[in-house]
């Protein structure tokens, strides 16, 4: 078992943890509000959410269309 390579590996882990501990974070309430806002703003443009009708969804048409 090599003592020095374990130390090198541990140093990397400690460095990484220091880096991650120091990043800027926002409150969950703010982050959640922004996620919700994005959903709401884009809801109407989401075909799977709004249930696009057969005439506009190419996968829902019964007949197979040929595109010229």
């Amino acid at each position: 078992m090599s003592g020095s390579s374990n130390i090198v590996a541990m140093k990397k882990i400690v460095q990484q943890l220091r880096f991650e501990a120091n990043i800027n974070r926002v409150k969950v309430s703010q982050a959640a509000a922004e996620l919700q806002q994005f959903c709401v703003q884009n809801a109407l443009q989401d075909p799977l959410l709004t249930g696009v009708s057969s005439s506009t969804n190419p996968f829902r048409t019964q007949k197979v269309c040929s595109f010229l």
Binding site: V28, A31, F59
Partner: protein
């Protein structure tokens, strides 16, 4: 007097434990509310009617991976039998087929231009095949080997052009490659076991990607420096799939622990768990609808569960596949999603 190696190791271990605790404390300080509480005022979703609209048959064995072309109608899929097929999803016709020199082609991706596909698996490589307009041309002849790992290729995707590919591997690393020269531009080390999945951040968000692995960890990487900028370890088993929320501010993951979870990158924590006591089989693949409100999860119990991302509830369960759902992707314009299964078929749902 020189420090004893064992003392230094012990000091480092203590420091690492202290930092881990500090990380949890910093994250906890900002945990003032749950996502579903913020979403209480959001209108509830109605009933969903989603059905199989097309079934793509032709693979001779388990479908392992699929990707949509930017033209919103073509799909590339790969299988355990070594075949990679390009389909026209509107007509269900097969446009191209390539036989790989290996079985278990676990990864495939469509190039942004629509002119090539990349794939790989047990051959430990990622190869690019330019797609020919001539259906009789042997695609294998123009094959270009791009990436070389020391274990299986688990996922691949082109970056914003046909010129670079990002890969993840059973060797525990991810890497960025130049397609033309086959040169490795950057490697990403940090996972302690096989990396099973990756997803590129939406282009507006900048040069990052997320990966998930058998070490139960998901990592967000800076593509330019190779550094892991954030990591999350809340799953209780392998992470099979990761996918960015459309705004790029969060990502979802699906795991063998039978849950899907949402991690917000600015809050730097898990903000939702999508699970039910009745769901006991692993989630193999996840993707969001265009607005991010719906999360589709393909599971090893052959079903697809549709989750309300904000409220944390399941809105629909889709039956149809006759074996594990192994891969799932929403189309580029969000009009449908495609699932691939161990039952050898792909299904388009809308």
């Amino acid at each position: 007097m020189a420090a004893q190696p064992s003392d230094t190791l012990a000091t480092l271990k203590t420091e690492s434990e202290t930092l881990k605790t500090k990380l949890e404390e910093e994250r906890a300080k900002l945990h003032d509310v749950e996502l579903h509480q913020v979403a209480e005022k959001t209108e509830a979703l109605g009933q969903f009617v989603m059905k199989t609209r097309r079934t793509l048959k032709g693979h001779g064995n388990k479908v392992l991976c699929l990707d949509w072309c930017k033209d919103k109608r073509r799909i590339v899929s790969s299988s355990q039998d070594g075949k990679v097929i390009v389909w026209d999803a509107f007509t269900t016709n097969k446009e191209h087929a390539v036989t790989m020199p290996c079985t278990w082609v676990m990864a495939c991706a469509y190039a942004p231009s629509g002119c090539a596909v990349a794939c790989g698996g047990l051959d430990n490589k990622c190869s690019v095949y330019p797609l020919s307009l001539d259906k009789n041309e042997n695609l294998a002849a123009k094959k270009k080997s791009v990436a070389m790992h020391t274990n299986y290729l688990s996922a691949c995707c082109f970056t914003n052009s046909d010129m670079q590919i990002l890969t993840s591997s059973g060797d525990g690393t991810c890497a960025l490659w130049d397609v033309e020269s086959g040169q490795m531009l950057q490697s990403f080390h940090g996972h302690a076991a096989d990396v099973l999945c990756l997803d590129l951040a939406p282009s507006e968000t900048g040069n990052t990607f997320v990966s998930g692995g058998c070490d139960k960890k998901s990592c967000v990487w800076d593509m330019r420096t190779g550094q892991c900028v954030q990591s999350f370890e809340t799953h209780e088993s392998d992470i099979n799939s990761v996918r960015y929320y459309p705004s790029g501010d969060a990502f979802a993951s699906g795991s063998d622990d039978a849950t899907c979870r949402l991690y917000d990158l600015r809050a730097d924590r898990e903000v939702a768990i999508y699970s039910k006591e009745s769901i006991i089989f692993g989630a193999s693949s996840v993707d969001f609808s265009l607005s991010g409100r719906l999360l589709f999860g393909g599971y090893n119990d052959y079903t697809i569960n549709v989750w309300d991302v904000l409220k944390g509830t399941r809105v629909s369960i889709l039956f149809g596949h006759e074996n594990r759902v192994s891969t799932l992707r929403v189309s580029p314009d969000g009009t449908a999603f495609c699932s691939g299964s161990w039952d050898h078929t792909l299904r388009i749902w809308a």
